[in-house]
Amino acid sequence: MKTQHPLARSLVTVRTWPIVTDMAVLAFGLAMFFAMAKIGSYWLEKPTPNVVISHSVWALPLYAFYSIVRIGIAYLLSLVFAVAYGYIAAYNPRVEAWMVAVLDILQSIPVLSFLPGVMLAMMALVPGHQLGIEMGSILLIFTGQVWNMAFSFYSSLKSIPREMVEASRIYRYSAWQRFWQLEMPFAAIGLIWNSIVSVAGGWFFLIACEMFVLGSRDFRLPGLGSYLQTAASANPVDMHALLCGLAVLVLIIVATDQLVWRPLIAWSDKFKFEQTESVDRITSPILTLLQRSTTLTRLPSRAWGAMEERLYRRLSTTQECRVVQPVDGPGKSRSILIPVVFGFFAGLAILWGAFKAVQMVHGVTLADVRLLLLGAGATWLRVNASLALAALWTIPVGVTIGLNPKLARILQPITQVVASVPATALFPVLLVGLIRLGGGLGLGSIALMLLGTQWYILFNVIAGATAIPSDLKEAAAVYRFTRWQRWTRMILPGIFPYLVTGMITASGGAWNASIVAEYFHIGDKTMQTLGLGAQISAATDSGRFPILLLATMLMATMVVTMNRLVWRRLYRLAETRYKLEG
């Protein structure tokens, strides 16, 4: 018998219980079908502005399902968009610089302040259906997820080794073959890790945007987020429902990790660009099980293979597959007309939008502006206070964990689960505690920001401490460094690049969190404090768009400026001076 090469590996593995897995796969397929039908009928319902969100525990599975579908669709959209965006940016020198700059700015804009605009636009687009609100929330989650994925894909494409690209050119690969055999595999690992981060961020936004007030209108989507918020704002607070909701959320997050991410990471191991096989690898029992299922591996690859063969035969007659395409040549002189026309219209649209926005801001008084600036200052202080607090506790703890492999093995999974619970879900619980203690939101909001951002720093510090080479540690021991010397000469410089990476992510997260942390409905009260985030939320509530616009622009400017002036410089310093090579 001839060996079938794509399956060579899975044929070798011992098969156990293939029928059971196959049945499970079948059942899964049926369930998917049912779910699609259910979602479809729900989306096409008339919008009922006052969806009653149940407190019952029995409503939880359905709500959780709705939330998962939202996240899932938003994620798939992000993936497609990220790949397309990265591809266009990497291969079109004319637009590359622009597209990367746009990425950079969009990455640092607080997504939550777009909520009202996006919602209204989507409602206008699909009037009379629940679908409008639904699309709005999905779009919002999408904007929270997509940028780092796009950036990851773009930078992967740019870092493909030159000789690999040349090999694909000299052997006259079509763009299709290059994409599947070179670009996608090369970018896969980065894309998967960024997907994990993105989906975690997606939960944060989902919970914030499933239920909100805009002017006189009250938007509600059945889901986990609205469930948690309803439970928290009931009078008295429905503690039981709140805790159940949280438990389901944690369960979903752990299950996603085990059922989706771990198998994906284990599978992506083969895309590692390495010359020799590494020793420790992440394993996933789920992946092993799936690979043993005959239906799942053989059928799709057969069907796919047959389709692909036809495509390859057709592609082989194109110019690209017959003539070697130079890597540095001017390429075919494409008409410049289309980009110019496109640019012209895009420019017009942007000008018109900017003009309209300026017109809108016209009615803002000087007192409003002063208040906004004051709020910006307050939020800036809070963000940095929360960063400092986070660094203060995570550095010693992270270094202790990182330098002690045994401790790391035990604590790492636990902290990962704790960290994966979105801060927005914990806010209500924390707020209830704050109220009972009688504390105000002024300082309380710092604690709330801390909740969302400390983990980024902790994980990076752990990673940094783990990466300190053992010969440095031994040298420190041999020369009897004092504790002070150990910290200033070895540990702090060693973790510096990781610390900076963590702080950058955390700072972005803290700005975003300020929008939900400084202003909160609980019971029938509204808690708020002076701050830019509170002003954005309040403007959303009362439908004051000019204030909302100004506040958003102010926040975006501050974030971008901070990135340019502080974080990027620190990052460059980390890259050049404190990088441990070898």
Binding site: T3, P161, E166, Y171, E274, E309, P326
Partner: protein, 458 residues
């Protein structure tokens, strides 16, 4: 009988070139609007039936030349023809064997070899058969399901060869194919390649090999082209008449190797007239900064001491052999010592000068002093940095200042290498110090003061 007649006819007819380059030139654009010429206008032909080796020091544009001839890179001016058709429009059939193998780590050995056939729309069955046959030919029978990372370097390059040959290329390009391999593996693969070529097991009509290994070139090639640098140009192009298999120990072989060494060590004696230059382009040979060879001061000291041990004069080829160095590693050190006036090169021999002898006989502090004098006397860049530091009131100058000046003469990459070498030499000679954090040059005593000051403040 008939065959011999055919042979005579064959040799009588002038073979038509497969690839012909006409006045190809290559420039790289610099961020500062300057254009650096990498290759000066060059004519070159690849004709059927020969293995051509392209030799040259690093920075002579060997790889760039290969990429232009294979259609991977477009010449800035001039034209490459494939059977009299411009290469950009021709359906050329060539392969490249890469130095880094350039295999796809996520594909199995078989999939790697099949991929080029897939691009050409070959049916799965035929694809499989042809690839398996080729794997068999290069001695990889039984490894088809392995992944490249499971293989040793030599095996990986065999996959590289199988992938290159499976498309039955008319010209096989090789870019330093053996330099990432250990000596024995490389030797083994070379002789197997020769065997495939001699037995006509591969349908390939010509082989174009880029290498920096002189012996490898003499061992394999029917024709050797030596490139010079700044900008890359052909210095000599000759046929190798030795019969295969060639014996490394035989006299004609060693004489030929020696001859090439001589050509390589005398870059200033240009055999031909300078190629015509375009306007606005700086003639690289009139540049006022010398190209600093990338050698460390410690290496220079080591070479001089060794040379003194050998009686002050030695064949460079023998020196490289004694040190078991590749010529690419030794030449920069020789060049550097020559630049500093510590030795002279005559007829492929390195001879130590008086100052060199003095240097080699001194202890370390005195060596630094001698090095300092030699560096200030002979190296413009170091002299400029020192003078500038002395004349500035705060005794520090940003690195960018000098990078901007180097930028007019060297490529971006080379500028950084030049700066790196200058820093290494300047630090050794205690001419100046370099603060990597602030990217500035400082006078050495200045820095000591600063350190003292910062210690006090702590």
């Amino acid at each position: 009988m008939l065959e011999s007649v055919a042979n005579i006819l064959d040799s009588a007819a002038v073979p038509e070139a497969i690839i012909r380059a006409e006045k190809i030139e290559k420039f790289y654009a610099q961020p500062s609007q300057n254009r650096i010429q990498v290759i000066a206008a060059t004519d070159l032909e690849i004709v059927p039936g020969e293995i051509v080796a392209l030799l040259g020091p690093s920075g002579s544009g060997k790889s760039t030349m290969l990429r232009m001839l294979s259609g991977l890179s477009t010449p800035t001016s001039g034209q490459v023809y494939w059977h009299d058709k411009p290469i950009a429009d021709a359906e050329i059939n060539v392969s490249i064997v890469f130095q880094s193998f350039a295999l796809f780590p996520w594909l199995t050995v078989l999939e790697n070899v099949e991929a080029p056939l897939q691009a050409r729309g070959v049916e799965p069955g035929e694809r499989h058969n042809r690839s398996m046959k080729m794997l068999d030919t290069v001695g990889l029978d039984g490894f088809e399901a392995a992944y490249p990372k499971e293989l040793s370097g030599g095996m990986k390059q065999r996959v590289g060869f199988a992938r290159a040959l499976v498309v039955e290329p008319e010209v096989l390009f090789m870019d330093e194919p053996f330099s990432a391999l250990d000596v024995l593996t490389a030797e083994n693969l070379r002789s197997e390649l020769l065997e495939l070529w001699a037995n006509k097991t591969m349908p390939t009509k010509a082989v174009f090999l880029v290498t920096h290994n002189i012996e490898e070139a003499v061992l394999l090639a029917d024709r050797i082209i030596v490139l010079g640098r700044n900008p890359g140009h052909i210095r000599t192009d000759f046929k190798v008449q030795l019969a295969q298999p060639r014996d490394r120990k035989s006299q004609p072989f060693t004489e030929l190797v020696d001859y090439i060494y001589k050509v390589l060590t005398k870059p200033d004696v240009a055999p031909e007239a300078a190629p015509e230059q375009q306007t606005k382009v700086r003639d690289q040979r009139q540049m006022h900064y010398q190209m600093l060879p990338h050698a460390r001061p410690g290496g220079i000291a080591g070479l001089l001491e060794l040379l003194l041990d050998k009686g002050g004069r030695e064949d460079i080829y023998r020196l490289a052999d004694d040190l078991s160095f590749e010529i690419d590693d030794l030449l920069p050190i020789v060049d550097a010592a020559q630049l500093l006036g510590f030795l002279t090169v005559e007829e492929g021999d390195a001879a130590i000068t008086e100052s060199g002898t003095q240097f080699a006989n001194s202890e370390i502090l005195r060596q630094k002093e001698l090095f300092r004098t030699a560096a200030v006397d002979n190296v413009l860049l170091l002299r400029q940095i020192r003078r500038a530091l002395e004349s500035k009131s705060d005794h520090t100058i940003p690195e960018d200042f000098f990078l901007d000046m180097l930028d007019e003469q060297f490529s971006e990459e080379e500028c950084l290498l030049q700066m790196e070498t200058a820093v290494a030499w300047g630090r050794y000679a205690e001419l100046f110090d370099y603060d990597a954090g602030r990217r500035r040059f400082v006078l050495p005593d200045m820095q000591e003061d600063e350190i003292a000051a910062s210690k006090e403040s702590e």
